[in-house]
């Protein structure tokens, strides 16, 4: 397992509803990232289709693994790289039951998937209208260590990142499609999730305008002390490289030992009270 490697934050805008065009873009960005020696290339939430596709989701969703993941696996194999991207997933057992899914593929093909647990359905978001929430965390063993996947609004719920960390992830990948007014929340939460878990956190946001929503970009790799190691441009497509060095975790974990001080009994209390809220 590599202790030290480069991560590429591939902050793209999407051609809505055009999977072929988006796969081509994913390939071009992957090639570019690979030339800069990245071992992991991360694309935004629903980057296969664009975020605001609404009813078209029923036509665009595919099983995972499926034809589109196969296309991205091919790119990963060809370039010897891990890729995370987002897509609408169609349940294999149903015809119109969908998930908002993050997919991880690598040099040897399909690695795993994570189905978004927290589906925003307020303000401009209508995810529960289309998606069923996931029930499993997504933590996967790779040559880059254990990678935990979360999606956008999940970051407002510390439990999800916490769980991936407790399952061994030292790198949490958050793919996102966050429109402009929410920027301030994400800038704080990305750092908070990294600090409280003493983990690396790679946040990759969409850019472009979809249905009047302006996605703000600002993708970033955060170190375990909450410091941003690299930040992509706001509002524009960008590809930035950051370095993960797992040995940076130890001093922070000893300095602010949040994992040592974790109190499991509080989780029972949280459960009890959340049910009564």
């Amino acid at each position: 397992m590599k202790q030290k490697f480069k991560v590429a934050l591939a902050q793209i805008s999407c051609q809505r509803g055009d999977k072929k065009a988006n796969i081509q873009k994913i390939e071009a960005y992957t090639e570019n990232a690979r030339q800069q020696n990245a071992d992991l290339v991360i694309f935004p939430e629903l980057s296969l289709t664009g975020y605001v596709v609404r009813d078209e989701l029923y036509e665009l969703a595919e099983p995972v693994p499926g034809p589109s993941t196969a296309a991205i696996e091919k790119i990963a194999k060809q370039h010897g790289v891990y890729i995370v991207f987002g897509m609408p997933e169609l349940s294999e057992k149903a015809q119109a039951t969908l998930y908002n899914t993050a997919v991880l593929v690598g040099p040897k093909g399909f690695v795993g998937k994570y189905r978004k647990m927290h589906l925003p359905t307020h303000s401009v978001f209508e995810e529960k209208r289309y998606f069923r929430p996931g029930y499993q965390t997504g933590v996967f063993d790779t040559e880059l260590g254990k990678i935990g996947l979360i999606i956008c609004y999940d970051i407002f719920f510390p439990e999800v990142s916490r769980l991936t960390r407790l399952e061994g992830a030292q790198l949490i990948v958050c793919i996102s499609a966050s429109p402009a007014v929410r920027r301030v929340f994400f800038e704080i939460l990305t750092a908070a999730r990294a600090i409280e878990n003493t983990a690396f956190l790679a946040y990759v946001n969409l850019v472009g305008i979809e249905n009047g929503l302006q996605f703000w970009g600002g993708s970033r790799l955060i170190g375990p002390n909450g410091r941003a190691l690299s930040i992509a441009k706001y509002d524009e497509e960008d590809l930035v490289i950051g370095e993960v060095d797992y040995s940076d975790i130890k001093p922070v974990e000893a300095f602010v030992p949040t994992l040592r001080d974790l109190r499991p009994e509080l989780f029972d209390k949280i459960k009890e009270n959340a049910e009564k809220l």
């Binding site: 609404r54 009813d55 078209e56 305008i209 249905n211 302006q214």
Partner: protein
């Protein structure tokens, strides 16, 4: 929540960037040749025109000046021309008096004394001209409705609010004024009392019964779930006046939507279909 003018402050440079980016993106995705908008000489249309010009270049923006006899005011024309000149916008002036007269003559139940129905006819007539130019020249109609007017329904249904995009619709009137100054709309336009120009002497604030400085704070309070009692107390207003604004906001929803239908099948226009726009 404290209801002071400060709550309406935004980063105007950022707002300008977002709106111009939105306009540019929409025009590009629609493969349109540019934008057409009504240029009245008021602050809203001047700001919409200025932002359109900043977004796609003045040469791709056409401002239609559509005066008519009854509300004709040379100062408004002067202001419209001032903005057009400053932002390099093309203009065309069409006097719509004869069209209005023909319409009035052709409507068997036309009532000269019914100010409102007659006034709305003017707004809708202007819409016809804008959409003719849009169709003929492959242009996007840019509306200039602001959030204050749209929330209280102070506009003509299918009239001045009819447009393809409404880039100012998430800004209250007093915010539009601030943005207007920021982008360089001349002060004499920003400072004059707003009027929809449906009949002579009509001013928005007199008709609504509140200055926009106050109305905007009432609406901001409602937007942020404040109770009418709280808003009234904060602003030193009678509670029933705030209640009246709240009722008006809700009662005008029909103006902001597609016509309501009754649901008969699985997937219904207005209820079910959700198809993304560019």
């Amino acid at each position: 929540m404290k209801l002071t003018q400060q709550v309406l402050d935004l980063n105007w440079e950022e707002v300008k960037t977002k709106i111009t980016r939105f306009i540019r993106d929409y025009v590009e995705k629609a493969n349109a040749n540019g934008i057409v908008l009504g240029l009245s000489g008021g602050v809203d249309s001047s700001t919409a025109a200025a932002l359109s010009a900043l977004a796609i270049g003045g040469s791709k923006v056409l401002g239609l000046m559509l005066p008519e006899k009854e509300t004709y005011n040379p100062l408004d024309i002067k202001h419209a021309k001032l903005v057009a000149e400053k932002f390099g916008i093309k203009t065309e002036t069409i006097d719509i008096t004869s069209t209005l007269e023909a319409l009035q003559k052709s409507i068997p139940i036309f009532d000269l004394k019914d100010k409102l129905s007659k006034g709305n006819l003017k707004a809708r007539t202007r819409m016809l001209y804008l959409y003719y130019y849009a169709n003929k020249l492959n242009l996007i109609v840019c509306g200039s409705s602001d959030k204050s007017e749209v929330m209280i329904g102070y506009f003509t249904k299918w009239g001045d609010a009819a447009a393809d995009i409404a880039p100012l619709m998430d800004l209250y009137k007093t915010q539009v004024r601030k943005l207007a100054r920021h982008v360089g709309v001349p002060d004499e336009i920003v400072d004059k009392p707003p009027s929809p120009m449906l009949w002579p002497g009509q001013t928005a604030e007199e008709e609504i019964g509140l200055k926009y400085e106050i109305l905007d704070l009432v609406l901001y309070g409602l937007e942020h779930f404040m109770k009418t009692e709280q808003i009234a107390e904060e602003l030193g207003l009678p509670k029933d006046l705030v209640e009246k604004v709240k009722k008006r906001w809700k009662a005008m929803e029909h103006k902001r939507r597609l016509p309501l239908t009754t649901k008969l099948q699985y997937r219904t226009v207005g209820f079910d279909f959700r198809i993304p726009l560019p």
